[in-house]
């Protein structure tokens, strides 16, 4: 019975192939929009998450306060309110802190023999690589003694190493001149890729922060430092403890705003994904509207079909079809119609989502659930919007239907 009805529905739809396809177009566009937008949303989320993860594990960032120049707020990290004493105090006194390292950022000219490069040079502590979960592929990090003595040692990023030494040379043990001071390379970092801003994180040289401050920047305060909590559960308490300690150290009474900013990795991740989540939601709503429009198109054409086939319905009723048989027949037809639209829409959506990364450098991921949901939603659309026409057909009076011209 179901097989026969299905055959009947496919045949009826095949008869008006162009009409069927035009009607299905609404569903095709709706479903394709859903599939494509979800794949872009998920893709963005996955990308952001991997970038947040590249920051390190259980990281709590401390940024120095903000400064206003000529009415422009320059943002956190510009005021230089964090001192080495603050850093040491945090490391010493905050429970749950496993490791910590300042970040003293600057750009400097590098030279090896006759090769030149301009790269970011970051002054860091001995814990830095562990905090950022960033291993060396060759050599290793420097330790506290090198930091204390402001030693001229450096860890080099993959891209910088390639620029200065070429592909196949292990730079460990070589000398690199940073602003003409010779630094011995002790480690080669694993490649990390781009960060959230699209910057190459591997075009980098790490030196002890003491060396950076003394020899490269001349700064006496830190813009920021990273600390690592022992476990994800400690993040919140570490954040609060650092805030309280710094307020105390900076002698800030109640009611005064912090002159620093403490952010956990989770908060950064949430802020970064919030925008893409809102975008995904908006596109999702638009896509659902087009699904409803597609459904109305199906309803419309099914009503036309019922009217066109009034006599056929009359004959079927006369030879013994029950109302239910007719209802089932037309419902099957509208479900098949919307499923055809849904399947073509899934195919189109997948195609769009495959070509988006090539065109816009935006990653996309098609989750299995989005296909299942799209399939289910198109079946549901067929049922919901096909029900009224099918009901109308099933309630026809056989005498009137047979007489219909």
């Amino acid at each position: 019975m179901i097989g026969a009805t299905l055959k009947l529905a496919i045949r009826a739809l095949h008869r008006n192939l162009l009409r069927t396809l035009l009607t299905a177009l609404g569903m095709i566009i709706g479903v394709a929009a859903v599939i494509a937008s979800v794949s872009m949303g998920i893709g963005a989320k996955v990308q952001v998450e991997s970038q947040i993860a590249s920051l390190g594990q259980n990281v709590v960032m401390v940024l120095s306060g903000q400064v206003s120049r000529g009415g422009f707020n320059m943002g956190f990290g510009t005021a230089g309110t964090l001192t080495k004493e603050d850093f040491d105090a945090v490391r010493r006194e905050v429970p749950g802190v496993k490791g910590a390292s300042p970040e003293v950022r600057s750009f400097a000219q590098l030279a090896v023999g006759n090769q030149n490069a301009n790269a970011q040079v970051i002054g860091v502590g001995g814990d830095y690589l562990e905090v950022r979960a960033w291993p060396c592929t060759s050599g290793g990090t420097f330790g506290e003694s090198e930091v204390r003595s402001a030693a001229k040692v450096a860890i080099i990023g993959r891209t910088t190493a390639k620029t200065l030494f070429g592909d196949d040379v292990d730079p460990v043990g070589q000398i690199v001149r940073i602003k003409s001071a010779p630094f011995t390379i002790v480690g080669l970092l694993q490649a990390k890729g781009m960060n959230m801003m699209g910057q190459d994180q591997d075009d980098i040289v790490l030196v002890p922060y003491t060396s950076a401050m003394k020899r490269l920047t001349g700064a006496t305060t830190f813009r920021s430092f990273l600390t690592q909590a022992e476990s994800p559960d400690d993040l919140a308490s570490v954040q609060t403890e650092i805030s309280e300690l710094l307020r105390q150290r900076h002698k800030m009474g109640p009611g005064r705003d912090d002159d620093f900013l403490v952010r956990t990795q989770q908060e950064i991740a949430e802020a970064a994904t919030a925008t893409s989540r809102v975008m995904t939601m908006i596109i999702g709503v638009v896509a659902s509207v087009s699904l409803v429009v597609g459904g109305i198109g199906i309803m419309n054409i099914m009503l036309v079909s019922v009217t066109e086939r009034t006599r056929e319905i009359g004959v079927r009723l006369a030879v013994g079809a029950r109302g239910w048989d007719v209802l089932f027949q037309f419902l099957t037809e509208s479900i098949v119609l919307s499923l055809v639209g849904g399947l073509l829409g899934i195919a189109l959506g997948a195609t769009i989502s495959q070509s988006v990364p090539k065109l816009f450098q935006v990653p996309t991921v098609i989750p299995a659930w989005s296909i299942i949901v799209a399939f289910g939603v198109s079946a549901a659309t067929g049922i919901i919007f096909g029900f009224y026409p099918a009901l109308k057909a099933s309630r026809l009076d056989p005498i009137d239907a047979l007489r219909y011209e």
Partner: protein, 253 residues
Amino acid sequence: MKPVIQLVDFSKTYASGEIEVKAVRGVSLTMLEGEFVAIMGASGSGKSTMMNTIGCLDRPTEGKYLLDGIDVGTLDRNDRADLRNKKIGFVFQGFNLLARTTAVENVELPMLYGRPVLPGREQRRRAMESLAMVGLAGREDHTPNRLSGGQQQRVAIARALVNRPALLLADEPTGNLDSRTSIEIMGIFQRLNDTGMTVVMVTHELDIASYCKRIVVMRDGLIKSDTEVAGRLLASEQLARLDAEQQAVQLHP
């Protein structure tokens, strides 16, 4: 002979707007198994209402209708659909075949709604058998647009026969056909009637009614006359006569 159709004081009233139209007003009529009855009458005489009621498409407003002993008046929509499926074969004036559907599939249509549904192979076998009975063996795969009017009506008759009904009900079956084809169709009805099938048809053509055994004439919702056909025509003889006449025309140009 047991009665196939029993109408007892049958009335049918239609409410059209505020006015009540009494289409049939108290008719009692019995048709036995193996009868071949023509219902005649002008338009508005109530013959269509009679037809719809006999065909279980409609229920009496008053009185009783028993089909093969079953009281149709007490049945709901679905039960009447089942009853039509089992007991009645319909033949319409406009054939009412499904377009772009082969002859054999058209004939299978009533079996789709049979309870229980027969297996596909059995459906096909019965449909072929039915088509052979109306002389259409070999044209099973033709769609209606490739068949002549007479052939289309034969397919419709095959469709009406396929569930082995107790009653064959024809509504102006020759209305869309030329006179020769009409006689051929009447021949098929006569042959079926000879095998014991009860046939009831509505017609307004007296010469077509003359192929039946009994004529019921309606007027203003009542039976005006109910008579045996005197000088019944036989389709086979009439066709032979037509052929002879045609030959005569060809011999004397």
